[in-house]
């Protein structure tokens, strides 16, 4: 197919200029309740509740019970394309995201975004999608079977599920360099973006008997590099599935993050990692910290020490704390931005904001954690856990403290603790509601979302790198999108304006 999706000639694959850091987050939500307490059934109900709400147009009076921003959402939920891929519920949303059942969890995979703040807004939109699905599903379920969703990463009993980040990386960058650059980052960034956890749930971390850990996920990691995501989880995942032109792109699939309730934490998590990848592409390994000798032991040890005083031995013999590693990494990013402007990651204002926030959170957790309790999830959670424990003189493993931990991530508005601890917001409800319905303009997600929104009945399937049309006569027509940077509003908005039917659009693309 011709038109805006041609893979253009690679512009200097050896160029030192970093490629645009297209990025996104996929989150598996914890789920409880549902008929028969079966998580797969409950997850399917959640996905279908969101999708069929719009398809059927029934129960419009339900809108009266919801805030206006959600009414806009309901009014426009007409656009869903099925993805014929698995037996389980699986949809593409009008904002370009994927909403589906993954194993025994409902999962929202955000659309590809052009900057960390944009990806943060679409992550928040995912939360809003899940909240709306939860409300719609429970509107028709027996209250005894009500479904509850949690944006967290473990059940406290040794079972973990993921919040994965994806970053577009230049294929020519050596993978061993990615490992050297990012292992120190992935083991240490938890001190500012960890979501916090009461207690421990794996044998090795339980042996340390921590009252509180700064990360949900850290104790589940067992390897430095590997392909697995569920067993022997690696700090660096080697899955090589670019969802695009494999000659030019790598999609770095990051499985070691916590799902954040704080929008600031999400933004800094994405921003710091994107800046470091861009710095690596631009300047190589210059300035990056040396590797700790035992990264797996280090990531677990850092997690179990909220005082942040733990140090680990590095390959050059020095002992460094997680804070020391983050400090050095921040300077790598700062030098990269000074030298290049950081345009691969975001515009100048946003890059400046991300660097400043990264710095503030870092200094805050060292100097006075309470100053960042409005942005760092583990600090916000620890504040209420410690406060509650002291108020009632509870044992560190009291069920009420575990309940506070769980309810921090609760998506029910009347139960959510994250909604009550005073987290600073980056986006208001209107901006988030818009991101539930409108795709980001600067990636191929724009084309996918617009197709789903405008021609839901003519789309046979869609995935990350193509949209398949069924316009009635003849074979299905696939529109390939191998380049995440094409299919944008600036390249295709005029096509949607000029062509009101799928047939016309395809003709325009083919011509």
């Amino acid at each position: 197919m011709a038109g805006p999706f041609n893979t253009s000639a690679p512009a200097n694959t050896c160029s030192p200029v970093a490629i645009a850091k297209i990025l996104g987050i996929e989150t598996e939500f914890g789920i409880a309740g549902g008929p028969d307490q079966d998580p797969i059934t409950a997850s399917s109900i959640i996905v279908n509740a969101y999708a069929q709400r719009g398809v059927t147009h029934i129960n419009w009076d339900f809108e009266g019970e919801t805030p206006n921003v959600d009414a806009r959402g309901l009014a426009d939920l007409t656009a869903f394309a099925p993805v014929v891929e698995t037996q389980l519920a699986n949809t593409v949303l009008a904002n370009g995201a994927r909403l589906y059942v993954d194993h025994a969890h409902p999962e929202y995979s955000s659309p590809e975004c052009r900057s960390p703040l944009e990806a943060t807004r679409f992550d928040s939109a995912g939360e809003a999608v899940m909240r709306q699905a939860q409300r719609v599903a429970n509107g028709s379920l027996d209250p005894a079977n009500a479904i509850t969703l949690y944006k967290n990463n473990s059940d406290g009993k040794g079972n973990s599920y993921g919040c994965h980040e994806n970053y577009l990386v230049e294929r020519s960058v050596d993978f061993t360099d990615i490992v050297r650059a990012l292992v120190p980052h992935f083991i240490s960034r938890q001190i500012i973006v960890g979501a916090g956890k009461v207690g421990a749930e794996t044998d090795h971390s339980r042996a340390i008997r921590p009252d509180f850990q700064i990360s949900q996920r850290a104790e589940f990691f067992e390897e430095v590099v590997g392909l697995e995501t569920t067993l022997k989880r690696p700090i660096i995942n080697t899955r090589d599935e670019p969802h695009g032109d494999a000659e030019r792109f790598r999609r770095l699939h990051v499985i070691i993050g916590d799902a954040n309730m704080s929008q600031y934490a999400t933004a800094v998590k994405l921003g710091a990692t994107a800046l470091l990848l861009a710095a690596l592409e631009d300047q190589g390994l210059r300035g990056f910290p040396v590797m700790p000798r035992d990264p797996v032991r280090a990531v677990r040890a850092f997690a179990t020490d909220p005082s942040l005083s733990t140090t680990v031995e590095c390959e050059d013999g020095r002992s460094l704390s997680a804070w020391d590693l983050q400090d050095q990494l921040w300077h790598v990013a700062e030098r990269y931005v000074t030298a290049s402007g950081g345009g691969a990651v975001a515009g100048a204002d946003e890059v400046g904001f991300l660097l400043t926030q990264w710095r503030e959170l870092l200094d805050g957790v060292r100097d006075d954690p309470m100053t960042v309790a409005d942005r760092v999830d583990w600090v916000a959670k620890r504040r209420i856990v410690d406060g509650y424990r002291e108020r009632y003189t509870l044992a560190p493993d009291d069920a009420r403290l575990h309940a506070i931990d769980l309810q921090y991530h609760d998506l029910r508005p009347d139960r959510s603790l994250a909604a009550r601890v005073g987290l600073r917001q980056l986006f208001d409800a209107t901006a988030i509601a818009e991101a539930m319905l409108e795709p980001p303009p600067s990636t191929r997600a724009y084309f996918r979302g617009q197709c789903v929104k405008r021609f839901p009945d003519q789309i046979a399937a869609a995935n990350w790198d193509s949209v398949v049309f069924d316009v009635g006569d003849g074979p299905l027509q696939r529109v390939p999108m191998p380049d995440p940077l094409r299919g944008t509003a600036s390249l295709t908005a005029h096509l949607f304006e000029a062509n009101s039917t799928a047939i016309d659009l395809l003709a325009a693309l083919g011509g």
């Binding site: 914890g30 998580p39 025994a104 599920y161 993921g162 569920t230 942040l308 005083s309 209420i384 406060g387």
Partner: protein, 64 residues
């Protein structure tokens, strides 16, 4: 470096911090404590009544 040592080091490296900052910090500290008390009251209202059962029943299958 222990937490204690680190705090001392910071104090040494920032000799110019004024007394005024300290008083602001005290006020802020009291404000934070008052805020926390209110927050804990609110948590008492929304926390699941049977915390033990609530926590015990939350069992997930691993994902990813």
């Amino acid at each position: 470096m222990s937490e204690q040592e680190r705090i001392q080091k910071q104090r040494v490296s920032r000799p110019t911090e004024s007394v005024a900052d300290v008083s602001v910090d005290t006020t802020k500290g009291e404000q934070l404590k008052a805020d926390l008390d209110d927050l804990l009251d609110e948590i008492d209202e929304v926390l699941e009544e049977n915390a033990e059962e609530f926590v015990r029943n939350y069992v997930q299958k691993g994902g990813e």
